[in-house]
Symmetry: C2
Subunit: 243 residues, 2 copies
């Protein structure tokens, strides 16, 4: 048996996230069926993280154990022939048995796309969050630097989440405007549930002048009610997984 590290891209719109669920189609489920068909034995895959319904992955990493019957260079193309058009295998390599897509992960980069324009762009439907009031990307970029470093991010976790350790380290946060799309890009060693979406919603509130406290104060408060909205999943893209 060999361990295979597999890199995917997927459009999340049609899936109830990565993780297998009862009575709902997930990416994991769809991938396992294709792999099991390819290898003629049941294959189970381990993903680098759960993603929510509607969240996309420009790059998602998973691993599985299988026999050596299929050369790695041929695997993505062979697998894509069995996968639907909204999931595509990009790269496969043999890794040591100690590699684990989730537990070996040292960090991740997410991108959140906001379509900031007076009028909707139909090509952005399901691919970004539409926000029609003018936003200041420069201001949000400056504010976002308060997230850098190691903090207890309880204020940026979905209320009701159970998590023993709520300390995470953010290594990089940039906010850039490209035409009428604003890209929020954040790299960290881990993220609490809905953390990226609440950070983006809080920066939007900062730009709208809707926050009563500074970002540093909100982080320190550990109080979810002081942060901004949770922006919707369709703007979120897992972009890189760092090992």
């Amino acid at each position: 048996m060999i361990r295979v590290k597999l890199t995917l891209s997927y459009v999340g719109t049609q899936y109830h996230g990565w993780q297998i669920q009862n009575n709902a189609t997930s990416v994991q489920d769809t991938l396992q069926k294709a792999l099991s068909q390819l290898y003629h034995i049941p294959i189970s895959v381990q993903g680098c993280s759960r993603t929510d319904t509607g969240v996309h992955a420009k790059l998602f990493v998973c691993h599985f154990d299988a026999c050596e019957s299929i050369p790695m260079v041929k695997l993505p193309l062979a697998l894509n022939a069995l996968l639907p058009g909204d999931i595509s295998a990009q790269f496969a390599q043999i890794v040591p048995n100690t590699f684990h897509a989730r537990f070996s992960c040292k960090g991740k980069t997410y991108c959140y796309r906001v379509h900031n324009s007076r009028l909707r762009n139909p090509f952005e439907e399901y691919r970004s969050f539409f926000w029609s009031y003018p936003l200041d990307a420069m201001l949000m970029h400056r504010e976002a630097q308060a997230f850098l470093g190691e903090h207890d991010f309880s204020a940026f976790m979905a209320s009701g989440s159970e998590m023993e350790n709520t300390v995470r380290r953010i290594d990089r946060f940039s906010v850039d405007r490209i035409g009428d799309v604003i890209e929020f890009r954040v790299t960290g060693n881990g993220f609490l549930y809905n953390m990226v979406r609440i950070m983006v919603g809080t920066l939007i509130y900062a730009s709208m002048g809707k926050l009563d406290r500074s970002l540093s104060e909100i982080i320190q408060s550990r109080d979810r009610t002081l942060a901004g909205i949770t922006v919707p999943p369709q703007g979120l893209y897992l972009e890189e997984v760092h090992y």
Copy 2:
């Protein structure tokens, strides 16, 4: 009554083209329903062209006659509230009654997108034509210059089409690679049925070394069988309408 020139964008994937059809949803049909709801009287719209099932429009122009009840500056936003997410009104203006979206049109610009990569990109599904063999954009750009000027384009018309005058003028044709997407962009005074899609298919064949004749010879032959394939609709975008 005033005449309104309305500019739209739409993702064509879910529609059987622009034109109203029996038992199939069209963009025209969807737009007319929204306009009729907005103006509280039946409104019929005239489009600048028919587009096929699955073809997109970054910019589509139509016109309709209505009372002056809604200010032009408010029309796009009001209309978008009634339109589905894959159609969006962008701009409205009052024009003279002599303006006709189709008959006043002096030319159009189409873009055709080919995703040219070894592996599929799920974000390009329904948005481009996937072609996995390497294509030479520089070669196709050079070859495409043979289309410029006024020609009988019978060789680039869907076989079986009835058209009295098959002479059209092409003013500009460019082929550019942006990463793994090749954009074919063509401006002309008019286009025969499937003409852009056959021109692109023929340039792809030229790059693949699959053509027995030069492009000039194929144009002169007026013989559809000498040209290349008709590439599928999902890569085609109406991009500009010139008046």
